[in-house]
Symmetry: C2
Amino acid sequence: MTGSAGPAGLVSVVGIGPGEAGTCTPDVVERVRRATDLVGYAPYLDMVTAAAGAPPGAARHASGNRGEADRARHALDLAAAGGRVAVVSSGDPGVFAMAAVVMEQLDADAGAPVPRWAAVEVEVLAGVTAAQAAAARVGAPLGHDFCVVSLSDNLKPWPVIERRLAAAAGADFVIALYNPVSRHRPWQLARAAELLAANRIPSTPVVVARDVGRPGATVRVVPLGELAGAQVDMRTVLVVGSSTTRCFTRPCGDVHVYTPRTYPGAPC
Amino acid sequence: MTGSAGPAGLVSVVGIGPGEAGTCTPDVVERVRRATDLVGYAPYLDMVTAAAGAPPGAARHASGNRGEADRARHALDLAAAGGRVAVVSSGDPGVFAMAAVVMEQLDADAGAPVPRWAAVEVEVLAGVTAAQAAAARVGAPLGHDFCVVSLSDNLKPWPVIERRLAAAAGADFVIALYNPVSRHRPWQLARAAELLAANRIPSTPVVVARDVGRPGATVRVVPLGELAGAQVDMRTVLVVGSSTTRCFTRPCGDVHVYTPRTYPGAPC
């Protein structure tokens, strides 16, 4: 990921974490403050501006939630013209976000007869992703082996999702679900819950976290048997427990969920 | 996770990220700087002291790599006596680390006739975990559905690990492997590679990342067919590609690995 000090610039694909300034890494803040151009979904640009401090004079290239490939190409073009470009994702840009999109464009370019972005330096800076933030709020549900699955079938066939859910449930993984509900496919969550219920008891705790790390955040714990009817939207991330995940209430009333590091039958 | 302003103190289970100051969140730095007691594995205490600045006057309770339950109880006792205790993990404390251990102790305490730590406030602060840091260094291998599995059979039976690897490979997940080699079980990685190879072609890219975010970090990409013979130790994290994960070399020589967000057969 080293680059030469040529006329071409830099694309930093950065993750701002869940949203609050306290969870955005200093490296990401530094890249945003030094940027000549900020590229991203408008609400994320608002968040990073609040979290990192508005870079004076930086151009803001806000876009809608779709059109990620165009956004990546635009960022690379800005850097090819000498810009220091921050491509902003919430959470971790490497998890269901812009880093893969930028890489896909670079891959195509590297194979082109005349690469367009050969001199552009590109880096990815990780951040805390939504499942981690949700887990931290409630305890440690991801404390043992886990899977991360997007329920959105915009970019993959639904049968692939079903196969993954069934495999993950059958092998007793904790399962974090991103994009649990789509406006156009309201039946997906109920179907997912059905698949999971084939390998989990109805009392299995499910963490339902909405807007964690942002104003108005809510974190609830519901039993798997009631998940299909739970209030869930696209800004919610779910963490479905494994057979060993436990839920308890402290004397102060705090509810915690965790998955012990030790699995039954362990040698020690 | 709210607490009352009583005489009892606070346990903050914090993750310092991969190790460099630039990847440790401001919230974690703040908790460490305000701590009266730092509890953790000695090398992590060294790292957080370097990353966050040594808290003047804080007591340092360094321990070996084992004995996590004792460490958690010690931290809770210090807080019950009024301390502001930071329990320090590298990466994310919620991923194969101290948060689950602290929760397990709290769970047992909540069920005790006379809870010992009822008044202690407990919080978990997430950090960037090793797989994310490794992924960012090389591109975006975790850009699509993925699993995180520890290959250590200290705390779980080896057959559980085999079942999870086979399920994850069969359902075409990207797979991040923590603790890939144990001193006492040198055959584990080769067996894991064999299980994965049943569902992946030998050229599948595997990211081999050691000490990412620390001095002397190395990140290599090897084909799955050569993984069993690769130099791997306990400070290494692996990311094994799915059937769609791609590897390419940029004109500048940088090697990148990514998993496209779009899966073959997607509706759009």
